[in-house]
Assembly symmetry: C2
Homo-oligomer: 309 residues x 2
């Protein structure tokens, strides 16, 4: 799957991923009305609205991008109905040949991590049959448990040809509260990154490892260091756009081959129509605004990469 | 909710929690057959089997214990149907007046943590109405993101009168890989514990805080230290039984009032009928074996607490 992802990044010349993190407040009135008319102001109605919202965006941007990253929390808050919308979204993105990064940030002790790995990347055995549960291509994983919380994910990835992005340095303001604490003179996140590189070396694709890392766009110094610590690791970079990162901040997350990082934007793309910059698109044409925001993001990042050469 | 939990611990004299972590391999043949006959060897059939299995155990032990801790990963691996069984289990435990600790180990950047907090402890607004999604009483939370990953959970807890258990020192063998690394001469988990105590002081119940901590039974030295670092924190202790912890290991997790800790056992209780010790209970009477295992666990822990006085 890492090889497919790298190929798609080259083919689209778009080292970006669209975060499908739909809040109800992002969904335009005409879609909300349609869903509430059909199902009432219920969890089913809300889940239908975010599914319709997602579908519009996916249809509008799928030819431009290699991958999407649905954030499961936004679906989970709508309970079972929300998780059905998550599942529908994953399946629909697969139909459109998009790589799906399940942003689930799971992680637990070994036997429990095995169940999470099965849930998101693997197959579960029921009697004489096998089923997939959510069936993403990649999952994000929390490293706090150390290797035996990660190993079950590695095992399933090997079996299913899938991959991970392990949290190294997160994009949020208090990301440093524990991650920046110095251990033997270097921040915790650097130690985590070294482990990610080590685990990744044992699970190599063609040029990059199946085991990627998350390093936030909001900490460009960390990106620069981690690029060197993890040379064969694809870095998933959240925090572009709404959280404050710009293309120029991101050049050091990439390798000299122009690859090695994939930058996520969520609300900057999916709620683009709410920004002044895209106000010319009315809410009815929200998906066209998202398409324009994707084109602008690709131009921003590729422009910064060119300028840095 | 922390006050209710503490009252129930006193009333039952059982500082324990039963981990409802059902694997299909734990479910006796007669229940599997019944569910597969009704729904086929499908995810629906598997989810029905674990729900029936849970129900039997809950009915059998609910008068003995203050709380249960369903581990969501085991349900998530069965997809939507599994999560319906999780939801049914939570609701049924509430009917039986048990406190429900959702072992979900969620955690993310602020806005995403807010969605997880809503999903597990809060209410989601849909148009003019409000709904609960999974509606547990407590949730376990991963601290890797620092305070702004935790704050949205704290906010929802305050509003809904619910609580958290934040991971400090986990019970797994590689729990120390990052958690034990020394920062200013003390392990990372101790720094996390200090923060938990600090956050907890701002969210006090009567004697204990709404904000608890997870410290594994398999590291009794850590338990001893953390008891002092977090005097008003209820410690949720996984790792008893199947993972190797015994009652004698646990006395230092408790305060002098005999309270302050709640010990979890999962497979040691729910799959008790598979152990030699309880082989006299046939698989058909698996729930009676679980009841006996609960009684034995209560006696072990209370005995150790008495002996330590």
């Amino acid at each position: 799957m890492i090889n497919k992802l790298m190929e798609k990044i080259k083919k689209t010349t778009a080292p970006i991923v669209v975060g499908l993190d739909p809040m109800l407040s992002f969904v335009p009135q005409h879609l909300l009305k349609q869903s509430y008319d059909a199902y009432g102001e219920t969890l089913e109605g809300a889940a239908d609205a975010i599914w319709q919202f997602n579908k519009g965006i996916i249809d509008s941007v799928c030819d431009l991008i290699p991958a999407v990253k649905p954030q499961i929390a936004l679906y989970e808050q709508l309970g079972i109905e929300g998780l059905k919308a998550f599942q529908k979204t994953v399946d629909y993105c697969h139909e459109k040949d998009l790589v799906v990064i399940g942003d689930v940030k799971r992680g637990d002790i070994g036997s429990t991590s095995a169940a999470y790995a099965t849930a998101h990347l693997g197959k579960v055995t029921v009697g004489s049959r096998q089923y997939t549960a959510f069936n993403e291509d990649f999952a994000t994983v929390n490293p706090y448990f150390g290797i035996d919380g990660v190993q079950p994910f590695l095992d399933v990835c090997k079996e299913e040809n899938k991959g991970l992005f392990i949290l190294v340095k997160t994009s949020n303001p208090s990301g440093g509260e524990f991650q920046d604490r110095l251990i033997d003179g270097r921040p915790l996140y650097e130690h985590v990154g070294e482990k990610v590189a080590e685990w990744g070396n044992q699970h190599m694709g063609e040029d990059y490892s199946y085991i990627g890392a998350v390093v936030g766009a909001t900490y460009p110094q960390a990106g620069k260091i981690m690029r060197k610590v993890m040379p064969k690791t694809l870095i998933l970079v959240p925090g572009y756009g709404a959280q404050g990162g710009t293309g120029a901040d991101l050049v050091h997350y990439f390798n000299e081959d122009g690859l090695g990082a994939i930058v996520n934007s969520s609300r900057g793309i999916i709620a683009a129509y709410k920004q002044e910059q895209y106000a010319r698109f009315s809410p009815v044409n929200y998906a066209d605004a998202s398409r324009q925001a994707v084109l602008d993001m690709i131009a921003d990042i590729n422009g910064a990469l060119q300028a840095a050469k």
